[in-house]
């Protein structure tokens, strides 16, 4: 058996996915900023004919950031964390190396095709499952490849017990596989065209109406769980202790939080359908389980915060620690906000309003985005064997993006509650007080603020991309791998 010191990890696939994370991040966030400003200044919706309307671009944004940026980040960190915590190197297996590379290229092609087909208007309409059936088949192929790589790597491990991070990546692989398959059960209509020259890029859902909605939100909610939550928890369980040099605060808490999250998460999907036509007991269950969900969510977050016990001084010295602690804090905010919105009476006001995108974005921008960028920053000196190019740029990025997020969610809180209250307002004669358009025009300042918040975040992301690029190309060469705190030039 090789000793740890001699084990040389392979970063070729990690680098490819890192590149994809940055590329799709820029595209996805840029589209996000554009559509945010389209709501404030609708003329922007008509600059590129049918290809530039809000409707065409919105799925591009959600797919771009969820399945472009976030998934790339998950895969990049998986191939990094996986090798290290399992104590194996991809170099040791030609087969797994081939699988991993194939995984990357098929994935990359799929996302490029997704961009093209979504702009052209090929969509199933189901949120976060918009891609049409040929692309879905492609996704199944590389998802399976990821599974082969994952379990192959686990099979080759030298470390007997698998680390918490790996549990979370595993859960992501298994749950998304199940959710994706069931929600994307669709029938291509070309096989029943009966001679009509119909499109090959069209399918209809296996489920109809209320059932379709039920399956969709069972998927939609849990795509959030197993793309935006569990793998990101996997990241923080590895990168925070590693960067800070601290042990994870509590093993027991990590076990409790993990299995709790796994059991509770899927029940909560029903909170997307409160006051809809799905059975009442499911709505109530979704509502109640959302409250229960606070426990395992905060369990992980508190475990991470307590990991810093006695070492809070690092928050002052390391912007990287700052990113991770802020990420964990936003995770706590987001996982208390979600359950609040799932309470039936709150949901009556919040549902269909801008408070929902507001909630999504304090999670995605604050938690997912910060954690992925922090992870890549931590990985950079190890995979490029260079010092991080600039600490001050990292500081700048941190504050620009934090301000951006705060602008985003505060404006959307106000917008959402304003709109929700206006929709239900009656005058003294018992007539509706506002026509619908009144509840739209009132939102203009908040939409503008939200756009500016998004622009801040995008600017920060471009600084991140520049910092990473300079690290890879002109960072000072390190002669040995840093143990904990990542070295960075001022």
């Amino acid at each position: 058996m090789q000793s740890n010191a001699q084990l040389e990890y392979d970063y070729s696939v990690v680098k490819l996915f890192t590149f994809a994370t940055i590329l799709f991040g820029i595209i996805g966030m840029l589209v996000g900023v554009i559509i945010a400003f389209q709501l404030a200044f609708p003329e922007l919706s008509n600059l590129a004919g049918e290809y530039g309307t809000f409707g065409r671009l919105r799925p591009l944004h959600t797919n771009g950031v969820a399945f472009g940026f976030t998934l790339s980040g998950i895969f990049a960190t998986w191939y990094y964390v996986g090798q290290r915590t399992l104590k194996m190197s991809l170099k040791e297996s030609k087969f797994l190396m081939t699988v991993a590379k194939l995984h990357f290229w098929l994935y990359f092609i799929t996302i490029l095709l997704a961009v093209v087909t979504l702009i052209m208007g090929y969509t199933t309409s189901k949120e976060y499952a918009e891609l049409e059936w040929p692309l879905d088949l492609l996704i199944v192929v590389w998802w399976v490849l990821w599974g082969v790589a994952m379990f192959g790597m686990i099979g080759m491990r030298r470390e007997r017990a698998i680390y918490v991070s790996v549990w979370y990546y595993m859960s992501s692989f298994l749950a998304v596989a199940m959710l994706f398959l069931f929600n994307n059960m669709e029938v291509p209509t070309m096989f029943w065209a009966n001679g009509a020259p119909s499109s090959a890029m069209h399918s209809i859902s296996m489920y109809a109406g209320t059932n379709d909605a039920l399956v969709q939100w069972w998927y939609g909610h849990n795509a959030v769980a197993f793309v935006f939550t569990t793998p990101i928890i996997g990241m923080i369980y590895y990168f925070l202790p590693k960067e800070s040099g601290q042990n994870v605060f509590s093993y027991k808490l990590s076990v409790l939080a993990f299995w709790g999250l796994m059991f509770v998460y899927l029940w909560a999907g029903g909170h997307h359908l409160i006051y809809s036509t799905v059975p009442d007991w499911m709505q109530t269950m979704g509502s109640a389980m959302s409250i229960v969900l606070i426990l395992p969510s905060w369990g992980s977050a508190i475990n991470m915060l307590l990991t810093m016990k006695g070492e809070w001084g690092q928050l002052q010295t390391s912007p990287l620690i700052k990113f991770m602690i802020m990420a964990s804090t936003f995770y706590m905010l987001s996982t208390i906000e979600g359950p609040i919105q799932a309470i039936k009476s709150v949901n009556a006001i919040a549902h269909f309003t801008d408070w929902i995108p507001g909630h999504v974005h304090d999670g995605t921008l604050g938690w997912v985005g910060f954690m992925i960028m922090a992870s890549l920053f931590h990985m950079a000196p190890r995979m490029f064997k260079k010092e991080i190019y600039s600490k001050s740029l990292m500081e700048t990025q941190f504050w620009i993006q934090t301000v951006g997020i705060v602008l985003y969610f505060t404006s959307m809180w106000i917008a959402g509650i304003t709109q929700g209250m206006m929709w239900r307002a009656y005058d003294e004669y018992g007539s509706l007080l506002y026509s619908f358009i009144d509840t739209v025009t009132v939102l203009h300042p908040y939409y503008t603020l939200r756009g500016i918040g998004g622009l801040f975040y995008l600017t920060g992301f471009l600084i991140f991309a520049y910092n990473m690029f300079k690290t890879a190309t002109s960072g000072r060469v390190l002669d040995k791998e840093p143990a904990n705190a990542s070295p960075m030039a001022s």
């Binding site: 609708p42 919706s45 008509n46 004919g49 049918e50 809000f54 409707g55 919105r58 208007g121 090929y122 199933t124 309409s125 379990f151 099979g155 017990a161 549990w167 595993m170 859960s171 298994l174 749950a175 199940m178 029938v187 029943w192 065209a193 009966n194 009509a196 499109s199 069209h202 209809i204 859902s205 489920y207 109809a208 109406g209 209320t210 059932n211 379709d212 909605a213 399956v215 969709q216 069972w218 059991f263 998460y265 899927l266 029903g270 006051y275 809809s276 036509t277 059975p279 499911m282 269909f352 309003t353 995108p357 929709w423 239900r424 307002a425 007539s431 509706l432 619908f436 358009i437 739209v440």
Partner: protein, 221 residues
């Protein structure tokens, strides 16, 4: 037990999967038979309406418009009777949406006309000052995909047993029959429109997207 599992990835994965999937078994399976019964009087969409529904999906109208009226007085006052499960029995996919940047459309056919939609889709802010909806002039030029709408309807009929061609239900027949019927329906919509190029296109046997879309919107009642 957890230590044991953590050293045995296979059993770990099995346990994990069962734990995650549990809620799905309980929630989804029992409800399937019950929720898919159509309400009395609910009919599947005609081919022209389906073509319009496809336009609605293509341009992601559902990104900003819901089709789900919740059982609150403020909603029934604004949009009409609250939505019933059976009304959606033929909706593949469902189009409830999750965001009301614009108003709900589940019963828009009750209170908007062809003429209103024509003006509104061309330039929403001229009809509703302050509207932030994009203009859709391309719908007046693009041709609706009636062939795919036919394949869509026929798939529903053959695969899912949707009652096309039954008594009192929309006719489907062969592709030629359906095409002729869709054009016939399109003519009725175009008769209430004033855009000359749209009228000409329909007279020449073509169905612009706007005609199909309006047929669909008018059918939402």
């Amino acid at each position: 037990m957890f230590h044991w599992l953590e050293q045995r990835p296979f059993f770990f994965a099995v346990m994990l999967f069962l734990t995650v999937a549990f809620a799905g078994f309980i929630e989804i399976i029992p409800d399937f038979a019950k929720a898919s019964q159509p309400t009395v009087g609910t009919k599947p969409h005609t081919v022209l309406e389906l073509a319009g529904r496809q336009v609605y999906i293509k341009d992601s109208c559902n990104a900003c418009h819901s089709q789900l009226i919740r059982p609150f007085k403020s909603e029934t006052d604004r949009y009409g009777m609250y939505s019933l499960s059976g009304e959606y029995a033929y909706d593949r996919p469902f189009l409830w949406g999750s965001k009301r940047t614009g108003p709900d459309l589940h019963r828009v056919g009750n209170y908007r006309t062809t003429e209103w939609h024509e003006n509104h889709m061309m330039s929403p802010s001229d009809v509703v000052p302050g509207s932030i909806m994009p203009k859709y002039p391309h719908m007046f030029k693009n041709t609706a995909d009636v062939a795919t709408a036919y394949a869509n309807a026929n798939t529903q009929k053959q695969v899912f047993g949707v009652p096309y061609d039954k008594e009192g239900m929309p006719k489907l027949g062969s592709w030629e029959d359906a095409k002729a019927q869709a054009l016939e329906d399109a003519k009725k919509v175009a008769a209430d429109m004033k855009n000359q190029s749209v009228k000409d296109a329909v007279a020449n046997g073509q169905v612009p997207e706007i005609v199909a879309l309006i047929a669909y919107l008018n059918s939402l009642k």
